[in-house]
Symmetry: C2
Subunit: 311 residues, 2 copies
């Protein structure tokens, strides 16, 4: 995946995404003793950076493929993103969701004309359901994170951040399926000025941390974290990129995630989801290491059930 791939991808998706703002805060800078720049993908369409990768993946299909539609399995932000991207591009989207997915998430998909297929809440069942749709309709399966075109799309948030702040020493990303950090690592490599990318994970779902140590993809036996976007696993497309470019993954506790989330809500007055707070929590935890540096943070999304807050 070359610099040109990234540039082409960015130009391709630009008409369909928001160029989200980069915010900073005097209070945050004082607390961290560094300059911190938040790339606010919580303001992205459908409320998360996932819109970028979903749009790019659909746009790279042939016309024949587009006519047969796309399918994914997701109960999270990618479900909404693929539905909205497909709607914008006049393509049919089918979303496999576990039967116990929250009604609010199902409604969000329906709002974007996504067709929901319910399945039992197991990884096997949702994979089977998706395979069946691919088989019966000829639709193209698009994985939420383990897909080169999705990875390229997710990297464009970091390109925009570096375009605005070219002197970043480091960019913090949460790690779930690995699409965002892989894309960001490529972006930082091609567009940064010796800019490192640091991963952030909950202790409760630290598969990427352990994978980086063992140099093979590790799994999570459980994933009891409030950061619902980070309960997923690395894949064979993004893991080699992570291995190549990422040297450090910082793990945080659930309490640290909640404290970081509340700090951003109360001080910056923006709504970020727990998965985004993981990246800021990691910076708070290791702030001594980054003192006086220029630091980017990808605020990955803002989709929170405001009736069920952890504070």
């Amino acid at each position: 995946m070359t610099k040109e791939n990234l540039i082409d991808c960015h130009n391709r998706i630009l008409p369909f995404i928001h160029k989200t703002p980069v915010l900073s805060s005097r209070l945050v800078n004082e607390r961290i003793e560094a300059k911190v720049y938040f790339k606010c993908e919580n303001f992205q369409k459908a409320g998360a950076y996932k819109m970028r990768g979903a749009t790019n993946a659909i746009m790279q299909l042939t016309n024949a493929q587009k006519q047969k539609g796309v399918v994914t399995h997701s109960s999270g932000n990618f479900a909404q993103a693929l539905s909205l991207a497909a709607k914008s591009l006049n393509v049919k989207a089918t979303i496999v969701m576990p039967s116990n997915a929250p009604v609010v998430k199902k409604n969000a998909v329906k709002q974007y004309n996504g067709q929901i297929i319910e399945c039992e809440p197991t990884i096997e069942a949702r994979q089977n359901a998706a395979n069946q749709i691919v088989h019966s309709t000829g639709a193209t399966f698009i994985h939420p994170s383990n897909d080169p075109n999705v990875i390229l799309g997710q990297g464009t948030a970091c390109i925009e951040l570096l375009n605005e702040q070219s002197d970043l020493d480091v960019v913090f990303c949460p790690i779930g399926g690995g699409g965002l950090i892989a894309g960001s690592a490529l972006a930082a490599h091609h567009f940064g000025n010796s800019c490192k990318v640091i991963g952030a994970e909950p202790f409760e779902a630290d598969d990427a941390y352990r994978s980086l140590l063992s140099k093979k993809i590790e799994t999570n036996k459980t994933a009891n974290t409030i950061a619902d976007g980070l309960r997923t696993q690395l894949g064979h497309h993004n893991f080699p990129i992570i291995l190549k470019y990422i040297n450090q993954i910082i793990r945080v506790t659930e309490a640290e995630i909640i404290e970081a989330m509340r700090f951003i809500w109360e001080r910056m007055k923006i709504i970020i989801e727990p998965s985004s707070a993981v990246a800021f929590a990691a910076l708070i935890k290791e702030k001594e290491q980054f003192k006086n540096q220029n630091i980017g943070i990808i605020i990955s999304g803002g989709n929170v059930d405001v009736t069920k807050l952890p504070f």
Copy 2:
């Protein structure tokens, strides 16, 4: 209060305030069937537009007055704003607060070095306490809304909004003490292009609505509204301006306030306080009247206790 007064005031306070962003949202525009521009004073220093008027009022004091400090009574955003403005300008601030004010609000004042004097939770007690401080220390009393320099300062948010969107047909403001709407009315008159200012009030504290009808200052017997910033009364400095320039005040129910607040949180991913939601609720309620217009809304603040949300 002339156009020059407003310009001078704006230039004077600029180094001490944030130039807050103007946001818009495709989803909001679709819902309202108009173009809506949110002036985000929830991102202002100390979390509310009050910083503008507080800064201007202190800056207009003589050096001798500044040396003796300032005093106000407030349990809300003006308490924090005056404390922070005073700190920035190296002036001592004393804040009279009712003994039952939330600890979180007292802490915010302390964080900005404001000195808190507690009093019984009655209007009489807090006025007496403030008078006593003025008498014993020579400090200058600065009213949260009923003061010409405060009114001028609050008007600068609307100046910035009109500088960015010169074609606004109308600007919505919540009405509490009347400082924001009086300042905004002056700004719209001097800087707008036939731009009207519309007031918004809770039914539960509709003193301005009734005052506009009777053409004299009416009071609220009770003020059982979630919009805690709007429980206050108009004053003799801002009421004549309101009478002169404001033709319409729209009242909303508590349920409408909460629904509007939640819509902004969930769709725009920004934290606004209930008082700010009153202005957007008024627009939702009367949207037919404003169809296809260019509409500004002053989002007055974002100071919310996130542990006590109405949803």
